[in-house]
Structures are given as C-alpha cells and as structure tokens.
Point group: C2
Chain length 321, copies 2
C-alpha cells in the first residue's frame, strides 16, 4: 500500500493495530490515526486524553502492555503525594504520564487546539504517523445504567465497566467540529481502516462528529473494519456487555451490521468463519484470518493482511468501473 | 509568648526559623507566616511558589534538608519524561513537588486566590500555623546585572546567583495588594519576627507591597529581625553578593541599617558582638547569641530566644509608657 491511509482508533485494541500499521507500512508518515476523544476528562485541572495517550505511548514503544494504559515501568510518586494532600487517587496517573498531561494542558491553556497539542507531543516522542483527535471541541461520553447516568471514566475505571448499559449519550457532539486535519487526511486517503476498538464508545463518537462520517464515506478507497468481537466476546473492555445492553448481537455479524452501508470490507477471526456468508450478504467483503494480536509480530502480521485486503478491494473496485 | 505572632519569611533560612517557632510555641496556631512570592513563576504552565513551598515542606517535616529545596527523598521521573518531550529540565521539580504545583494551579485556575490555595495546601499537610503569601497579585523580581536584566530564577537557579547585582526591580509591586489575611494577622500581632532571609529579595518584596510595611509598623508589639549575615557572610544564598552590589555593608550592622526605623530588636551572632554598640546606636536592641540553626534542636533553641527577646522588649515598652 503506497497510498495515504487513515485509521480510526480508540484505546488499546485500536492502538495495537495502529502500531502494526506503523510497522507494516514502508512509509509510516503516510498514515494518519484519528482518535476518539469523547472519554477525555479533567483531573487535577489537567486535560487527560486516555485514547490519544494509549495510541501515542503504543506507537512510541512506551506503552505498558501489561495494563493496557499508561507508560511502561512508570512510578506513582506524584499520585502518592496527591493522596497526602487529601485527593482521591481513583485514576492511576503515573509520573511519566503526568508529564504528558501537564504539557498538553499547558498547550491548550496557551490557546493551542487539541490537534496541535497532540501532533506536537507525538512528534516529540518520535512518532512518524500523524495522530489526531477526532475534534478540538469538548465531547463527553455519558453512560446510562439502571442505576443512573455515569461519567465515562466513573463507569469505566471507578466502577470497572460492570454496569449494564442502557444508553450512551455523547454530550456536546452536535456542536463538535471535526479536526480540520482529520478532514484533510480523509480527503486524500486511499483506504480507511476502522481499528478493533469498541464500536459504541470508541468508533461511535468519531463517526458521530458532524461531518466526519460523511468524510469517511467520501474517502476514495475501501473502508475496512477489523472486528473487535471474536468468538462472541470482546477482546478487551466492555464492548460485549455494551452491545448487548443496546440491543446489538454480540458477534462479528453484529459488528458488521453496525457498519453496514459504510464498510466495504471486514476482517473477522477464523473462529467466526461461519458468519462470513451472512456478513457478505450485508454488502461487504469478509477477510477471515487470525484477528488476535498477541505480540508485536502479530500486530504487524494482521496489519499487512489488512493492507493487502485494502489493495485487493481497491483493485476490485477499479475493475468494476 | 502567648500572643499572636507574625513571621516574615523567604526561603530556606526563613523556613528554618519558622519551623523553630512552630516547635517553640505552646500553640502554633497563634503564628502566621507571611511569605515572599516575588520569585513565583510559571513552569510547564504550573504556578511555582518556591518560598511558600520551602516553608510549607519545612513546617510539614517533608523538606529536603540536604538541598534546601524540594521534598525529601523525592524522585524526578516526571521531569525525565519532560526531557523526553524535548523540554529543558533546568529547574529541578520532583515528582512529589509536582503534586503541589498541580493542585495550586488547579485552585488558581478555578478562581481561588493564592492565599486560599496556600492555606488549603498547608492545612492538608497538617501544618497548624497559618501560611500566607504576601500578596495574591503577581510580582516578579528582576535582577539587573552588568550583562543585562535577568528573571529571578534565571539568575538564582540557572546561573547559580553568580552574577554581580546592580539593581533589583520588583515588577508589578506598585499594583500589588497585600493578602487581606496578612493584614488581619498583623493587626492582631503581639510581635513581628523578620526571619533570617535575604533582606533584598525575600523580605524586601514583602515590605514593598503597598500597605504591608505600614501594617508591620502599626503592629502593637516589638519587631525583631534575625540577621541572615553572620561574620560578614550570608548563611545561604546570594545575600552577601547582592548587598555588596547594592552598596550595603555586608555585616550584621549593614542588616541593622536596612531595618533602622522599623526594627525594635535584632538578633546577631556572637561572632558579631563587637557590632552591637553601633547597632544599638541605630535605635534597636541587639540580642547576641548563637544565630546559626544547625539542626531541629538549634531551630527551636533560637526560636525560644527570639520569643523571649520579644517578651522582654514588649515588657520594656510597656514599662516605658
């Protein structure tokens, strides 16, 4: 693949495939990753962008692969002192991680957009793909549960995503404008890849930013989804429980239905091969492979398959003209 | 001493005596420390108050006594990550220390005054005396040298206070208003103690805040200065070089002259006993003692002597009426 590609990503799963793509591409500068920011929040007066940070640390080779969040070998001295000041250390921010939040907040306070703050942090860490927030405007994911409405991090971290989800509300989404750089990247993209991130709270907010879904649909190349559901279970996080709560079938087919009319291809795991005919009946090609990324080699391998799939779909489309 | 006392303090030397006073007082809540904020500055978008922090950490028993700044046994992981982002780590901020600056900045951004931010941080650390900034308004010490004008921290930290000082400018001082709580404390003070801090860049700015010198002069009890110059040398920092550059005699007598008309008593070291007559000719009583605080016991011992001196001066004043 020598064309520009755009990946849409949330946190851990998205970061893994984005990392694979960074390794698989001859020229990683050809890739732009548009990242969910609907779970951004303020803590200790600092702007935290959990998904941007996970993608950034992963692509910089700094991620803590054991936990899925934060920086490898980080320490928690600042947070310990926060406790000494009587603050509740409910959200685990490491000392290295704090540097990111401090510098991002400084940039935003000085008037920079989140786009500029993100690209400059990522470049400082030597990341060659372009990392972008979906929007520079505030959007907040709110989770409705039988017990009431929760802020996303309260639901996800403090309550360990154990609540039944009855609805997901994206506060501020109607007024959010896409990051202009994200629109630019999509306008020249030869392929769009939706990483194996939660379709409801990671990819959902990106596509819900007014104008972004249109830009994805208008992109000239194929749009490939990598299913985050394998064998009827989420690879990580609350996607399965959330899909179930919102009335979606918890399967690769359920994922395919959520992207029907948008995706031209979907990557599903071999354990889900029996679902391929039903998926293809939705109007998209299915690539059946090993969809689980167990290590760096697995990330690069899956990324190469996704890129080859994109090339095949692009050629088929050109042949059909 | 059972009356309210007010101490004026800068960084390390002032913090030591304030700590001694905290130990020596039967009821440490009777003490208010008014602290220099003219060397406050912004770093990484955070509000740093070096003198407040030194006093706060010292009174909380957290100070790094080896360096004179920062928190004991602190680590520097956040700062290391700052370097990884390409930031110059010229000012040593420890991980525990960062918590202080983050929480202070959060409070200020939320609209709190520096007075409120300071008292709440100090109380969270269990400090019973009241710690106050001299002002809630921005004041910046600028140092004129033969090579040009320097920001204070550039002069003090980056250039290790090695430059000759030709003038000291307090940018913003004319518009600065005293912390209202500081005026309150002075209005009920039975004694004011000027700690052994740099008379030019620590105590000078406090007394230069419009209205604060008047409030000190109007305080009902004695005003005692503890000389930061012993044997013609500064106990710590650039006071000697600075006094010399600005035309002051570098001696306890030089210090006494700077406070003539304000101080009713001065504490000088035994090595300077020969200066006592000349000092007393300026209109203040001199207490000759061991003015060096070598350890916690030394701090408490000197503090008790200062408090006894204050009691004696107050009684003499009452007798003279």
């Amino acid at each position: 693949m020598t064309q520009r590609i755009v990946a849409l990503a949330g946190g851990v799963g998205g970061a893994k495939l984005a990392h694979g793509l960074q390794m698989a591409l001859d020229d990683p500068t050809m890739m732009t990753v548009i990242i969910n920011t609907a779970d951004d929040f303020q803590l200790y007066g600092l702007h935290i962008s959990p998904d941007i940070d996970t993608v950034m640390y992963t692509l910089a080779g700094l991620a803590n692969t054991a936990t899925g969040w934060g920086v490898r070998d980080d320490t928690f001295t600042t947070l310990t002192m926060m406790s000494q000041y009587g603050e509740d250390p409910w959200f685990q921010l490491g000392d290295r991680d704090f540097a990111t939040h401090i510098l991002r907040t400084r940039a935003l306070r000085a008037g920079a957009t989140l786009t500029v703050a993100t690209t400059s942090l990522a470049r400082a860490l030597g990341i060659t793909p372009t990392l972008l927030p979906m929007t520079d405007d505030p959007v907040a994911t709110l989770i409705d549960t039988p017990g009431g409405r929760l802020d996303f991090q309260d639901y996800f971290v403090a309550r360990r995503h154990a609540d039944i989800v009855t609805d997901v509300v994206l506060d501020g989404i109607a007024a959010a404008r896409p990051s202009p750089a994200a629109l630019d990247a999509l306008s020249t993209a030869g392929a769009v890849i939706i990483c194996p991130s939660n379709p409801i709270v990671s990819i959902g907010p990106i596509l819900a930013v007014p104008g972004l879904r249109d830009a994805v649909e208008s992109a000239s190349g194929p749009l490939i989804v990598v299913s985050p559901i394998v064998g009827g279970e989420a690879l990580k996080g609350p996607a399965a429980l959330m899909m179930e709560g919102l009335g979606h079938e918890v399967s690769a087919l359920g994922v395919a239905r959520m992207y029907a009319g948008l995706a031209t291809g979907i990557v599903i795991d071999a354990v889900d091969s029996a679902l391929a005919p039903a998926i293809e009946a939705l109007g998209m090609q299915a690539l059946v492979t090993d969809a689980i990324m167990r290590d760096d080699a697995g990330r690069e391998r899956l990324a190469r398959e996704v890129l080859d799939f994109a090339t095949t779909l692009a050629a088929a489309r050109a042949g059909a003209r």
